[in-house]
């Protein structure tokens, strides 16, 4: 996205500076015009170099690393061992990798769906309620948002704790005796469910605030007009709210997909991707390969595959984004 902004900025600079300089000058026109043409690029150069260095270089080095055998030995001795596509054949040929990849995609999809939906509902709710209640809700969400990831994870671990967890205690009190000593972390699916709930909880504030900002921007008279026309609540939503919120909704969905796909902290802190690797997602797999086993080359290959997979998932949005930019220009 940064690159897109840069092009945006470049175009007006180019257009406006050229005529301004050309008008008063007269004699050194030729030299001046070459210089003038180059000037914007020269001015942009420092920023461009910084961006390439900060973003381009790491991307390139991951690509390069993914074709190398880079374990602790090679790392400490500075050896460069090229292995071609070995790292890729190793991970893509591992059936466990595909299980993890599918699990990651399904997990991401579910978490994104639930969090965006919940965020949207809360955003719409906030428009309906009185100011006092809304401020309380907003402060509560702000606090949830401000909570450090690991602190929140610890709290969730305690809530779902087998012996001392408040959830099991409450369920037993309410009458579900079978939940006494129930283990919420006994299978990968239930562990991921708890982790997913935590991630949704953490994601809702941002989504709700963003969508609320979009929702209050919709002119009131459109709703009045809809009311006069006798539209039902659902029809009003379909005809007025939805078209206005759709671009924003697309953007936050896209962002959520990026964020949720690469979630590592909460999953690792919850049960280290266990039990039996049942809640291992791609970022966890990458950590196990790269940090635990010190196979940095393989881990780099996993990153490349992850980027490819993510690009595949978000291709629709990216296309739309590129097309709309072209339209504007």
């Amino acid at each position: 996205m940064t690159a897109v902004h840069t092009t945006d900025a470049a175009v007006p600079t180019n257009n406006s500076s050229a005529p301004r300089r050309a008008a008063p000058g007269g004699a050194p026109r030729r030299r001046g015009s070459t210089f003038d043409r180059l000037l914007p690029y020269l001015l942009l150069a420092p920023a461009l170099v910084a961006i390439l260095w900060l973003i381009g270089w790491p991307v390139l080095s991951v690509l390069v690393t993914s074709f190398r055998k880079l374990n602790l030995r090679e790392l400490t001795r500075g050896e460069v061992v090229w292995t071609g596509l070995d790292n890729y054949t190793e991970i893509l040929g591992d059936p466990a990798f595909w299980v993890i990849a599918v699990r990651t995609v399904v997990f991401t999809a579910l978490v994104v769906l639930v969090s965006v939906l919940a965020g949207l509902l809360i955003a719409l709710l906030m428009r309906q309620i009185s100011t006092g209640v809304r401020i309380v809700l907003q402060v509560a969400m702000l606090l949830a948002w401000a909570m450090p990831l690991l602190a929140a994870t610890t709290v969730y671990q305690w809530i779902f704790d087998q012996q001392y967890g408040i959830l099991n205690k409450t369920l037993v009190k309410v009458g579900f005796d079978s939940f006494a000593g129930y283990s919420w972390f006994s299978t990968g699916t239930s562990t991921l469910a708890v982790t997913g709930l935590l991630i949704v909880w953490q994601a809702i504030p941002f989504l709700a605030f963003s969508l609320y900002a979009g929702a209050i921007g919709i002119p009131k008279d459109q709703y009045e007009a809809a009311g006069i026309d006798g539209a039902s609540t659902w029809q009003t939503f379909r005809a007025v709210t939805w078209p206005e919120l759709k671009p924003l909704l697309l953007m936050v969905t896209f962002l959520s997909m990026l964020w949720d796909f690469k979630v590592f902290t909460q999953i690792w802190a919850m049960r280290k991707g266990g039990p039996d690797g049942g809640s291992t997602t791609l970022p966890v797999y990458q950590y196990l390969e790269g940090i635990s086993k010190s196979h940095f080359g393989v881990a780099a290959a996993v990153s490349v595959v992850m980027v490819a997979l993510l690009a595949l998932l978000t291709v629709q949005y990216l296309r739309r984004l590129v097309r709309s930019q072209e339209g504007e220009l």
Partner: protein, 427 residues
């Protein structure tokens, strides 16, 4: 936006690798008399400051012009820090490595081969468990520093009240002690005779070794899991027997660190725990009343009168292969291996690595139990990939939880864990 963890790791790895390529131009200039700095990294809480102060002073006095730069490192994240440090142009000269991590660094040839210096470092008195952990391919890549092992820490007052007169000397006596404690405190629903969380896998190692089994066996150049052997299963069964007899309320899906078992012990509602010396110290700190009411005995064997083999936790000292002051570093290790400093280690409550004299350690009941069981100490498989078992997803923990909660029958739990372990050790 593409700030992926993997990118960062890859980038960092590459940056480090590039830095590692740099030539060390000023290495090897051995002019004596030139001021030199010997950088020593020891770990948090390993050697008492009285020892290090005296050691560094004596070393500096004996080597004029040499300054010892002594730095204390934190255990948390040490593997990553060492990886970075060992790849740098100017690594520290002496480092302390956890004994289960040593093989990983030795196998990658990042440490100096000390085979030729063993005898000068008191080699005939090295603690065998630690020596195993630093030996790779028949060569010694370090010197044992100190060790500690788990013992059964118990409440003397509760034992007396329950009519248990002597510390258990066999598994059967241990079980009956648990039963007596349970009966004597039946009125208190919060009471646990033995606190044993489901994933205390170092304790499990003891039971498996006691049965004659092992975690993994060398198979050619690689290691293969041995968790599906009858011996390993017998060890697991005994673990379950302890958990069931005690009726411990400890979580079955967590290890002894969540919650810290010493804190549970400090509540006073626990009769025994299988723990390390510092855990008793922590419990006493939280509840000073326990100071006079606690003691320890070695983990009993199934053979009456013997102690079960224990996992020897501890540290080795090593010299990075890139050290520019390797000779000075060897001198430093030599001084540290002398009896004077080994006695100071023992006094501090640890089993010394290069001295068989544990008289200074055996002055407390806990020290006595430590000294009794340490010679029977063993270590986890000496293979570079073991570090990945501990820092990644530990199959032993999954196995224990699955078996204890009844999620899987014994045979399946051990077979699954064995497959996972073999896979991690193989790669």
């Amino acid at each position: 936006m593409k700030g992926w963890r993997g990118l960062a790791v890859g980038a960092a790895a590459l940056a480090v690798a590039v830095a590692g390529c740099g030539t060390s131009s000023d290495g090897g200039s051995g002019n004596s008399g030139e001021p030199k700095t010997l950088t020593v990294w020891l770990m948090d809480g390993s050697a008492p400051t009285t020892l290090t102060d005296a050691l560094n002073k004596e070393f500096q006095d004996a080597h004029p012009g040499v300054t010892v730069k002594y730095e204390v490192q934190k255990w948390n994240g040490i593997q990553e820090k060492l990886t970075t440090a060992l790849t740098s142009n100017n690594p520290p000269d002496v480092i302390e490595l956890g004994n289960t991590q040593t093989a990983k660094f030795a196998a990658e040839e990042t440490l100096l081969d000390l085979s030729g210096d063993v005898s000068g470092l008191n080699g005939d008195q090295w603690l065998s468990g630690l020596e195993d952990s630093l030996t790779w391919d028949g060569k010694q890549y370090g010197m044992p520093f100190y060790a500690a092992n788990r013992t059964v820490i118990y409440r003397t007052d509760l034992f007396e009240a329950a009519g248990v007169t002597a510390a258990p000397k066999s598994r059967d006596e241990w079980i009956s002690a648990i039963e007596k404690l349970k009966a004597a405190n039946a009125a208190d629903p919060e009471f646990q005779p033995l606190y044993l969380p489901g994933q205390s896998w170092y304790a499990l190692l003891s039971f498996i070794w006691d049965e004659g089994g092992d975690v993994a066996k060398p198979q050619g150049s690689a290691w293969a899991g041995a968790l599906d052997t009858p011996q390993a299963k017998a060890g697991l069964e005994f673990y379950k027997k302890l958990v069931d007899t005690s009726g411990t309320k400890a979580p079955k899906d967590a290890d002894e660190a969540t919650p810290q078992q010493m804190e549970v012990f400090a509540t006073g509602k626990v009769g025994m725990m299988i723990g390390l010396p510092w855990e008793l110290a922590g419990a006493v700190k939280a509840n000073p009343e326990l100071k006079e009411k606690t003691s320890a005995f070695p983990i009993p064997s199934k053979t009456s009168g013997k102690t079960a083999p224990v996992f020897l936790g501890g540290s080795n000292l090593a010299i990075p292969a890139g050290s520019k002051n390797a000779d000075l570093a060897k001198e430093y290790l030599k001084l540290l291996s002398s009896k004077k400093y080994q006695d100071m280690l023992a006094e501090g409550g640890a089993v010394p690595g290069t001295s068989t004299d544990t008289a200074k350690l055996a002055t407390t009941p806990l020290g006595k139990a430590l000294a009794e069981s340490a010679p029977n100490g063993k270590v986890t498989p000496t293979t570079p990939s073991w570090a990945a078992v501990e820092s990644g997803q530990n199959p032993l923990k999954d196995m224990l939880t699955a078996y204890l909660t009844g999620a899987k029958p014994l045979d399946q739990a051990s077979a699954d864990a064995n497959t996972a372990l073999s896979k991690t050790l193989g790669g």
